[in-house]
């Protein structure tokens, strides 16, 4: 066994001074392994998503608890969950899926504020954070807190209420779970203030003089505020783990080859090891970042 592993991973006479795994046949075998795994995973995923699926554990309650925890840590009053804002967030999520866009404003230019107003929330201040592709509520909150614009929304003293929508679906060609977070402070009837402030992450606060007509979008769907799937095997972790292992094995074999051959001063006709090491290192980094959630 030991001898076989040496033959497979270390350059020596038995493999013509090139690790067997780096021979054309070895590389072809690894490519075939990926191909077979793709077919197998695809079949299992299509038949039994409870066995091989995307694990997601995001709930509005956890998002609310974590948001208020961050606010408390920064000396701010907690925000209250508001059904009207959650309804507006749900409408926004539905609009994003149906029109297939990933942005604060729809392709027609509909702003988040239209959804808030049409849900019946008459605001003095309003804000929106968006996230997709995350696995847990804490990952979502951490990502927002790490981004200055989103953090500003999370920690704004102007907001008293909050609403969430956590909705799975297909967006811009990817299966994902979309999280819409909407903040607000209701306009008090007794207070005469002519302007309303709205904030999107990374933007300057926008001040508008008046609200456009309401009821542009009807509240036709009930609020979706949590999404949990618990497959036995998480697709993200499984595919990342397998890809990473295979590429790391190949990378290690090339590094060992480089070191041993340099020491032995053997001349061969092969590709430059450093070229391949640089390429595989970038492939490893790509694998590492694929599947990470994104925010806007």
């Amino acid at each position: 066994m030991r001898d076989f592993l040496h033959h497979l991973f270390l350059p020596r006479e038995s493999n013509n001074h090139r690790a067997r795994i780096l021979h054309h046949s070895g590389l072809l075998l690894l490519i075939a392994v990926f191909f077979v795994l793709e077919i197998s995973f695809s079949f299992i995923h299509s038949q039994r998503e409870d066995i091989l699926g995307i694990r997601t554990e995001i709930t509005a309650q956890e998002l609310l608890t974590l948001t208020n925890k961050k606010r408390a840590e920064n000396g701010l009053a907690p925000v209250q969950l508001n059904d009207t804002l959650s309804n507006a967030a749900s409408q926004k999520a539905s609009d994003m899926f149906s029109k297939n866009y990933w942005a604060h404003n729809s392709p027609e230019g509909t702003t988040p504020w239209v959804f808030i107003k049409s849900a019946g929330y008459d605001y003095l201040y309003a804000g929106e954070n968006l996230a997709r592709g995350f696995t847990t509520s804490s990952d979502v909150i951490d990502a927002w807190m790490d981004s200055p614009g989103h953090r500003e929304n999370m920690l704004s003293p102007n907001y008293r209420e909050i609403g969430f929508a956590v909705v799975p679906g297909s967006l811009t060609g990817d299966e994902t779970v979309l999280v819409v977070e909407m903040f607000g402070q209701k306009r008090e009837g007794a207070v005469e203030i002519a302007q309303a402030e709205q904030a999107l992450p990374g933007d300057q606060t926008v001040v508008s003089e008046a609200f456009p007509d309401q009821q542009e979008i009807r509240n036709t769907e009930s609020t979706v505020a949590s999404f949990k799937t618990q497959p036995i095997i998480d697709v993200k972790q499984a595919t990342k783990g397998i890809s990473m292992t295979i590429i790391l094995v190949l990378f290690s074999a090339i590094v060992l080859d480089l070191l041993i051959i340099k020491r032995k001063k053997i001349v061969r006709v092969v590709a430059h090891n450093i070229d391949s090491m640089i390429f595989l290192l970038v492939v490893i980094l790509i694998i590492l970042i694929i599947g990470n959630g994104v925010i806007i």
Binding site: T172, F279, G291
Partner: protein, 88 residues
């Protein structure tokens, strides 16, 4: 040994710069996995062409070397595709 490394350093630096630029573009495109795959395809193709060019300029090009670059390029594509194909 040092002379050999110096002779190749420009090629390694060129490859590193282009691949890291591609990695940055992928990081900015994580919301669109089709785009991530397209950039990966481009980077793999660049690695193969750059590697072949590298050998060609140093007059040590050989069919065996070309095939090795192509196979490692396909390995990279296969690994990235396997990582994202069920997320699409």
């Amino acid at each position: 040994m040092h002379h050999t490394t110096k002779k190749h350093i420009v090629y390694y630096a060129g490859l590193s710069i282009v691949l890291l630029l591609g990695l940055f573009l992928i990081r900015q495109s994580l919301h669109d996995l089709n785009l991530v795959m397209a950039i990966t395809l481009f980077l793999s193709l660049f690695y193969v062409v750059w590697g072949i060019l590298h050998h060609f300029i140093h007059h040590d090009i050989h069919a065996k070397v070309v095939i090795e670059y192509v196979l490692i390029g396909i390995m990279g594509i296969s690994a990235v595709y396997f990582t994202l194909f069920l997320l699409k």
